[in-house]
């Protein structure tokens, strides 16, 4: 209904408003004269994203969007797995319940390939809808690439390019042992052994989404999830390298982790870092940066590094997530207004300045003078860490993740690691089971080997 109301006159008015007053719209604040030009006033958008620092900040700025456009927003940010299940089901029905949804990296191939999102090209290429200075080309190419289909159509506008890094909340404890930030797996193991339970703090934790955090270890030892993704999707979860990697990570968690280490989801891991309850972790850049926020107990002691390298190299997890418009949405023009606002240079700059947000996807902001200073944490240059990690994407090691059947492998990897870490099974046996199960699940999903 709103979509219909917004056609022709509404869109023309929106285009005119955007063309003549992009600055106020994008900045989220409307001058008095612009109040009358709110073509989508009265529209209510339903928007959902998984809980992340960016999603939290957007929630805090939303009243400004409503004030500027007259668009009301129903906004929810469930946890990552819950969001994905809900979005997957909602998208599969091609329903109209949501107008803007996050396109989760792991689901890009599946959701975009199934035609569940609207191509954004018609919005991006229409100067009435998108002023030139909004500048889509400014988004980091690596973060946009997974949001395209084979024809090059764009389905998502990326709000985060996140990378896995190493972080020590109590680097002072490492220092006391004469150690620096671990740069290799061998150094990591030595460091964890040296600092475990110093000051009563367990040494090591990673979130229990092992389908994400285990892969850098797997690839570091020379293994991979599939034989040659995306062309050859035969799983290789029971390789000797995989067994070695699983034993390595399991040892770190069992010997140097807190009790119930396999129960730590990303929220608990992040909280443990901020409160100094676990010393070292491999976590997303976006979740490590809040260590500098008020209330953090590690503001003065935190330090960071690239994810440690294994014998075969350094393979940090790199993922981008993007806003997209579900194909069933009946309020697409208004949804596009939200996406433009939430990813505008002005709002992203404000997020950097006011919230310390660092995992930005716009090159102009990353390269802006003063950005580095604003995203320093305890004297550490988080921007350089971000850039250096993103540069490692050129190795192409993330290709395993954007194939449409990765969710199946992801579930098996997570379960296999849980079995190993909890002592339920040995690494070889557990990974062999994961391999068999993945083959079975992939066959069921229509993959022929």
């Amino acid at each position: 209904m709103d979509g219909k109301a917004a056609t022709r006159r509404g869109v023309l008015q929106a285009g005119a408003a955007a063309a003549t007053a992009p600055a106020w719209l994008l900045a989220g604040k409307a001058p008095a004269y612009a109040q009358a030009a709110k073509p989508f006033a009265g529209t209510t958008l339903n928007i959902s994203c998984w809980a992340s620092p960016y999603a939290r900040f957007i929630g805090e700025y939303l009243p400004e969007f409503t004030e500027a456009t007259g668009i009301r927003v129903t906004y929810d940010t469930p946890g990552f797995p819950i969001y994905n299940q809900r979005a997957d089901l909602e998208l599969s029905t091609k329903g109209s319940a949501y107008d803007v949804l996050n396109i989760t990296f792991i689901f890009t191939s599946r959701w975009i390939g199934a035609g569940w999102f609207t191509p954004l090209d018609e919005f991006l290429n229409d100067r009435n809808r998108t002023p030139a200075d909004w500048d889509f080309a400014d988004f980091l190419e690596g973060s946009v690439r997974p949001m395209k289909d084979r024809q090059g159509r764009i389905y998502g506008a990326p709000w985060v390019a996140d990378v896995l890094c190493g972080g020590s909340g109590r680097f002072d404890v490492l220092r006391q042992q004469g150690l620096g930030m671990p740069d290799t797996f061998a150094e990591l193991e030595r460091a964890m052994a040296a600092i475990h339970m110093k000051d009563d703090i367990p040494a090591f934790i990673v979130e229990n989404h092992y389908g994400w955090v285990f892969i850098p270890f797997l690839q570091g030892f020379g293994g991979n999830v599939f034989r040659n993704p995306p062309d050859d999707l035969f799983p290789t979860l029971d390789s000797a390298e995989a067994v070695e990697a699983a034993e390595f990570l399991a040892k770190l968690l069992r010997q140097y982790g807190p009790p119930q280490a396999i129960g730590y989801n990303v929220d608990q891991t992040t909280l443990a870092f901020r409160t100094g309850r676990v010393n070292y972790q491999v976590n997303n850049h976006a979740f490590l940066v809040p260590a500098s926020e008020p209330g953090s107990r590690v503001r003065g002691t935190a330090n960071f590094s690239l994810i440690p390298a294994g014998p075969k190299g350094r393979f940090p997890g790199i993922a981008s997530h993007a806003w997209g418009i579900p194909v069933g949405s009946r309020r697409k023009p208004a949804a596009w207004e939200f996406i433009k606002w939430s990813l505008s240079k002005e709002l992203m700059n404000r997020m950097v300045n006011e919230k310390g947000y660092a995992a930005v996807t716009r090159a102009s902001i990353l390269n802006a003078p003063g950005f580095r200073e604003r995203t320093m944490v305890n004297g550490f240059d988080m921007t350089q860490l971000y850039i250096d990690t993103l540069a490692l994407a050129a190795q192409g090691h993330m290709r395993y993740r954007t194939v449409h059947v990765y969710p199946q492998a992801n579930a098996q990897i997570t379960q296999a690691l849980e079995r190993i870490i909890s002592g339920q099974m040995g690494a070889r046996e557990s990974l062999r089971q994961a391999q068999q199960n993945t083959i079975q699940d992939l066959r069921r999903a229509g993959i022929r080997f």
């Binding site: 199934a114 009790p259 119930q260 999903a445």
Partner: protein, 285 residues
């Protein structure tokens, strides 16, 4: 017969039609990312054949059996014990009856959250207390040996009042005369229970077992909140496995086959218990 038609139509619309659709779906390889699979009946038996070769499904059925037997047994014992204790009309017991009903009326998610806190070592008052008295308890939900029992404990805590309530009602329906007669004959407590009370409440216990057994097969919220089926697949019971196949992998045809099998199992169990209930019903007539 014509007069029953509206009721039969409503019945067909609200129960038989969805069940029929579920069964039809189970005969297809429906995958939501592949719309062409929706009405593909080229291999109607594939999903069912696949189930017997799927070790994870068979293991989930085994975990389901463990969970069901343990929770029903604990709930019957706990509910029966509580009912016998509270089978007197004193103010304290009246208060006890009301207080013990609280777990049953809590929303399952609230129960899950409550016990998630109780099972989280860092913040759990239970774990802290046990550590304080020198008997530290290992993390229960992340230990494969304890995880299923942790679910059993919570499910039993939540639902034993159901048995308690029904058994209490049955106890209060027992006439005074056989109890008086047994007392005069010098029956001790156990004899009173075994030979006088139990025959009266046995049919009620069968009904409780039936209801709780069916409900245990539907166990989902506690597992979702407390363990997500883990560690590994230690708490992946059958309906959680179906949920994963449908909602994580979009394999709705396969998940429907699992669901159909579960519905059939519930029917069979209900029929068996109903037969047993019918037999026990006649014992003290």
């Amino acid at each position: 017969m014509l007069g029953l038609a509206p009721a039969l139509i409503v019945l067909a619309a609200i129960t038989i039609a969805p069940a029929g659709y579920l069964f039809l779906t189970s005969l297809t390889p429906l995958n939501l990312t592949m719309p062409g699979t929706a009405w593909d009946f080229s291999g109607p038996h594939y999903n069912y054949l696949d189930l017997w070769e799927d070790e994870r499904f068979l293991r989930s059925a085994w975990f389901q059996a463990h969970l069901s037997v343990a929770t029903v047994a604990l709930q019957l014992l706990g509910g029966l014990g509580a009912a016998l204790l509270l089978n007197r009309d004193t103010p304290i017991r009246r208060f006890g009856r009301s207080a013990l009903l609280v777990p049953m009326v809590l929303p399952p998610i609230a129960v899950g959250i409550l016990w998630r806190v109780m099972y989280t070592v860092d913040i759990s008052p239970f774990h802290r207390f046990m550590a304080w008295i020198g008997l530290p308890v290992p993390p229960l939900t992340t230990d494969p040996d304890f995880a299923l029992w942790a679910i059993v404990l919570v499910d039993s805590w939540e639902w034993f009042p159901f048995t308690m309530l029904l058994v209490l009602a049955a106890l209060q329906m027992i006439p005074e005369s056989p109890i008086e007669a047994a007392r005069i004959d010098g029956a001790n407590g156990w004899q009173m229970f075994r030979y006088v009370l139990f025959p009266y409440i046995a049919p009620t216990l069968v009904v409780c077992a039936l209801f709780r057994l069916i409900d245990s097969i539907k166990a989902f919220p506690l597992i979702y909140v407390l363990t997500s089926g883990g560690p590994g697949d230690a708490t992946t019971v059958t309906n959680y496995y179906a949920f994963v196949q449908a909602f994580n992998f979009s394999l709705w045809g396969y998940a429907s086959a699992i669901a159909t099998l579960m519905v059939a199992t519930i029917f069979v169990i209900s029929w068996i218990i109903d037969r047993l209930g019918g037999n026990s019903d006649g014992r003290h007539d």
